[in-house]
Symmetry: C2
Subunit: 203 residues, 2 copies
């Protein structure tokens, strides 16, 4: 390698590393801005990231693309947390632990989900929820197999109910009718009897 | 009254009656258009109503105002139906009947609610839900008083759960994962065990 080639290669690496830093700063800023306001503009996000709008649009072709990557990154981080949840042993205890962790994640990233829902096609949002939903479904099916959970409802419906109640709780907190600290317990006491093998007869 | 005054008054009446017909046509068209597409524009609505946009804006100052009145009208009509539901007798049977009727209404007007959620402030949507939510809450409280429903969850949370599951079912239908015909039964079999006085122990 000649001196000149080495200098070129070094400056290419420096540019790449600058670009990576910009992308990381923009994604961090997008996460922070969208968590405060699901309608945060690219101008606000660029400002928070300390870059110009031209730089932002150089890395992300549109606001949609930026929201997509921010949401995908937030879901990937959530997966890392959910992967650590102990789902072994009694399926009901596993479900309670999964509710606890899922709730913390949903409460924290609620506004980013709203941004995603306002921006991305429903299929894309669904695609990014595939893994967490699959985890809930696997646990329900395991609980059904060992007689812990009822089998008279479609499993996909039980997964949907799990998320309906969790997201409903987030709405209640946003509306100021529910205290964030008591939410996980309330959600668990709501979902467990509903999933139990022998639901109290409706007399 | 002089002839001239009589003519003026007649023409005023005719104009008023024209205006009332326009308003009614616009609201009907808005209901139909928003039921198909929650983002339907005022141009589309005016076209469907057979009036010009100037006429539409003469009656409704903005798209927001039109969505507000369309949603309020839809909720008022829903109230007429819900008022007919027999909530006497066993609270569980009453709840099952209320789920059936509420479900039919929600499934039918889902897209108008989405339009309202995208347009109106949350407090306004909440205000227009006050009566139906109060009805659910009264029924739950009556069931709690006679020992049919559990008392370990806040009543407002139980009302929220009722709506979370109903709206979750509407989302599942939109996503093509749930069949509209089986929804009311599924919702009832989901909510009743969850509200029952003696939920199956979570062991």
């Amino acid at each position: 390698m000649t001196d000149s080639q080495a200098r070129t290669s070094e400056s290419t690496r420096a540019r790449r590393s600058d670009a990576q830093r910009s992308v990381a700063a923009i994604l961090e800023a997008a996460q922070a801005c969208l968590a405060l306001d699901p309608d945060a503009s690219t101008a606000e996000i660029a400002r928070a990231a300390g870059v110009g709008r031209v730089t932002l649009y150089g890395h992300f072709g549109s606001r949609l693309e930026l929201v997509d990557q921010t949401f995908a990154r937030s879901m990937a981080r959530a997966e890392e947390t959910l992967d650590q949840v102990d789902l072994s042993g009694d399926a009901r205890d596993g479900l309670a632990r999964l509710i606890g962790s899922s709730w913390t994640l949903i409460a924290r990233s609620r506004s980013i989900l709203v941004a995603a829902q306002r921006t991305l096609p429903p299929e894309r949002i669904r695609e990014l929820h595939d893994r967490p939903m699959r985890r809930v479904q696997d646990l329900i099916e395991r609980g059904q197999a060992v007689g812990a959970f009822r089998t008279d409802l479609p499993t996909t419906w039980m997964v949907a109910t799990f998320y309906s109640v969790l997201h409903g709780a987030a709405d209640e907190i946003t509306a100021g009718r529910l205290d964030s600290d008591s939410a996980a317990d309330l959600i668990t006491s709501t979902i467990l009897p509903c999933f139990a093998r022998d639901p109290a007869p409706s007399r």
